[in-house]
Subunit: 284 residues, 2 copies
């Protein structure tokens, strides 16, 4: 009876180990899937922000337009990295965890099978034991008991091996899943730091005076929404002297504007500001 | 009439500038508020994961338990930084953008007021002009026209100044909002890289053999869910020889367990693995 009790408790430990793994790995899987989805939503919001930034940039004066476009591009790049993060989380963490669920089910089925076999073997062993007790001198009964005992041991051994393999795999997989999770996150965050450092420089380099001049010219100039920009030779002084209010400034501003469309385009094509010092802002 | 037309178009530029700012800053505000909310949801999911990790750790063998707890602590720390990110985004980006909306409304109201004054002044000017044309030699009519013209110029000047200040402030604020956004994001990502590097080391250092030994002891030992751990003197060989299946292993495993509770506690109190090389994994 001791053997039976011991095996019962052993099987109970195995079952609870597998059930526990099933419960928690299931939780990890659904939480990490939700984490991945929420990350995707964050990417979506930032993508919308990028779109609005570009739209807004197109309504603004050249300097700000260039700055906002560069900034939007950086923000978009962070979202590309976030997208890579999402894809990698799905492929290397969520999907393997899902597949792991199938593996757990298989181990459960194996334990169930071994349990059934073991139960039958135990019944058989008890029966043979009783027979032997009835005829203690029966050598054949003795042999039968021994053989049944060896069979039962063998089954138990197989069961133990199955669960041992399961446990080893579980520990390895757990380490792998979370190491992959951490690596994916780490790569994303490191890339984000890099790109945001550049974005910070872009925003820092923005000089608003040119745009203000441009805005003033527009205010005194043509109607509508085209942008003007002072000619490169024009004084960049912020202390612009206001023209007399009753002077019709439209004609001068219009001719002024014509040349500006050219310089505006050249600004658009110009390379972004020097980003050489982009690592500087890494830990502000 | 030229003056009136010019002023009309000038006011139209001003109004469209303010309306444009209202539209896009409103968009930026709601998108950044949504971005902040989504970040908070991501933090919530990760917090749930931390909780499940700790719960799971408590059902596992000592080595894994210690590793998972350390890992959960790191993951929780990233969420603390994310929480700081959320709070700072709210305080330094979303809230100022919201307040900016009020400022835009005020500028709109001022433009409206100036527009009304300007309209009246223009009407007055036209009336006086007509009077002067009727009596071209009337010196008093001439003086009235000049005074009305000066008044109108003054109002236009004030309007221009209001919009100029608005535009300057808008450009400055835009730069500030997005610089603050980038700084907050950058700080968070840099901290996340730092903590995840440590977490990576924690997971890398996990050795499963001790836990496997422990699991085998449990399988052959006491029922229930308490954890065992081989005594420090016990052989850590993974090639454990399976005891004969029909041997009642419970008594030995139980005495074994008793000593283990001690060593288990000492493991719990032990400092986490050497994290000296935590900066190593910064850019994998």
């Amino acid at each position: 009876m001791n053997i039976t009790l011991s095996r019962h408790s052993q099987v109970r430990v195995m079952e609870s180990t597998v059930a526990n793994a099933e419960k928690y790995f299931g939780e990890f899987c659904s939480l990490l899937a939700a984490y991945t989805r929420k990350t995707a939503r964050l990417r979506d919001k930032a993508d919308q922000l990028v779109k609005q930034l570009v739209d807004f940039a197109n309504t603004e004066s050249p300097e700000l337009r260039a700055t906002l476009r560069d900034f939007a591009e950086d923000l978009a790049q962070v979202q590309d990295y976030r997208q890579a993060e999402v894809e990698r989380l799905e492929a290397k963490v969520v999907m393997p965890l899902k597949l792991y669920g199938a593996q757990i089910k298989q181990t459960r089925a194996e334990i169930k099978k071994f349990k059934r076999v073991q139960k039958n073997e135990m019944k058989q062993l008890e029966k043979l034991e009783k027979l032997r007790q009835k005829c203690p001198s029966d050598r054949q009964a003795e042999t039968h008991v021994q053989r049944a005992s060896v069979d039962a041991s063998c089954t138990t051994h197989q069961l133990e091996e199955t669960v041992d393999n399961f446990q080893r795999q579980k520990l390895k997989d757990l380490q792998r899943f979370f190491s992959d999770f951490v690596t994916i996150e780490m790569v994303f965050h490191a890339k984000a730091v890099e790109v945001y450092s550049r974005a910070f420089q872009t925003l820092e380099h923005y000089e608003l005076e040119g745009d203000l001049q441009d805005f003033r010219a527009k205010m005194h100039g043509a109607p509508g929404h085209r942008q003007a920009r002072p000619l490169s030779g024009a004084s960049p002084s912020p202390c612009v002297s206001w023209p007399p209010a009753n002077q019709d400034a439209r004609s001068t501003a219009r001719s002024h504007r014509k040349g500006d469309v050219e310089s505006e385009h050249s600004v658009e094509q110009a390379p972004p500001e020097d980003l050489g010092g982009q690592e500087q802002g890494l830990r502000p």
